[in-house]
Amino acid sequence: MRGELVRFPALPESLSVTQARETVGRILAVPISERAGRAKELRLEHPEVLLALCESLTERIEASPASVAEEADFFYRFLETPLRKIGEFDERDYFLGELALLAGGANRILFRRDDARRWFDRAESNFVRVANPSVHFARLAYQRLGLAAEERRFEEVLELAPAWAQSARQLGLAEDALKCRFLEGIAFWETGNAEQAIRVYREIQGDAQLLGIPRLAAQAASNLAHYYSSRGDAEEALACSRQALPLLQQMGNRVHLAKLQWSIGDLLRHQGKAGEAAEAYRSALRESEEIGLRGDVAAIHLVLADLLLDAGQQAQAEWEVRAALPIIDEERMVPEGFAALTLLRESLRRRKIDRQALRNLHGYFRE
């Protein structure tokens, strides 16, 4: 074979960043079932479009994780089979890795942990072939640590989060470094080190403001609101809520808005305002249902049951528990809390809810 016979395929039509973003808007408006058949017209294989698509899905993941999971799944499978020539050199592997990471992250938010794990493995199998892979491994490590935190493997988180935060900083991933510290803060809180958790979140809040990452500053304030509220420190909790609320609303961060409403419910409950607390919890419940956060939905039902028991409303409390249990069963959410779940179910049968089991169980859901 001679050199001049080795030909490269034609270059894709050139697109500016703006044109690519507009194209993504048009693609996402087309129902998924129609897209593959219109792949050429929609430019589904254009690398500039795929780059803009990943950017768009990343921006939307906290506002609408269910749709991001669905979109990332579609594009991953579209690029994967049949084997398509996408962009140049490592770009096919990169886009497959990025889409799998997005799908995994969205599934993690949605409490679909087994799916998330599988997507992270897919991301890894693609990222291993791209240029500069250490950056993507660090991003992937954060997601896996997030999963560990949600599965209450706090010892693991406390060991690995500082190490990954350090690696992320060295790789120039300032935002990912702060995100690893988020998980460290959660692990401190959940293992009873409240002071350490609050210190970590104060540092994150300051660093995020310095680095100009308002999203993380708002999320840190939201977590601080929850922690202060759980400790009954109403003044600090309200101050943090006031810092977080407008930023979260502005960014359309519905996941953290729902969590903030939940924290406000906790705060009102500590203040003895049961009616207003129930309202805040129901508002968090509606938001979580709309986004598809089934884990949070189950947990808030249990928290509401606890509140209703305080108010002597046994029948309504039972209703809330009955609303939560099928979700916990369907999603196989708390294998670690199996004992508490069994006790609660048993107490429900006896028509006398076991308060300790109820509290143990909803504790498993709260980050």
Binding site: M1, R2, G3, E4, V6, F8, L11, S14, L15, S16, V17, T18, Q19, P47, E48, L51, C54, T58, G87, E88, F89, D90, E91, Y94, E98, A131, N132, V135, H136, A138, R139, L171, G172, L173, D176
Partner: protein
């Protein structure tokens, strides 16, 4: 070059321009690409690099020149391997490049650059 550049991409274009002579040398001298094929590969590397610099977590383009050179050598390597049967006989330099692999060749070329001349000043980050 075909792509439309804005903001940060100007910096990627500038870095590419600085490294282009080395890329060309790698493709033509180390991997024996004919000039026309070398130009095609350079165009593709340019398009790739400006998107590569916009991936999440990417550092400034100036600090990604090793990745650019490595990808150039990988492209040259793949091209040359496809022509191996015809070209390998009697070309010691090509044989050496293919035996050592693109990672080693990219490092050799980069070291040569560092010895020859000081780096140009880093362009401003206008991203």
């Amino acid at each position: 070059m075909s792509s439309t550049f804005t903001g940060k991409n100007n910096e990627a274009a500038s870095v590419f321009g600085q490294i282009l002579p080395l890329i060309e040398r790698a493709l033509v001298t180390n991997y024996r690409l004919p000039p026309r094929e070398a130009s095609e590969v350079e165009q593709r590397l340019y398009d790739w690099f400006q998107r590569f610099c916009r991936r999440p977590g990417s550092r400034k383009p100036e600090s990604l020149r090793s990745e650019l050179l490595l990808m150039a050598c990988r492209a040259g390597h793949v091209y040359s391997v496809s022509k191996l049967e015809d070209l390998l006989s009697g070309d010691d330099r090509l044989k050496r490049s293919l035996t050592l692999g693109p990672e080693v060749i990219a490092i050799e070329i980069e070291k040569g650059l560092d010895k020859r001349k000081p780096r140009p000043p880093a362009p401003k980050d206008d991203a």
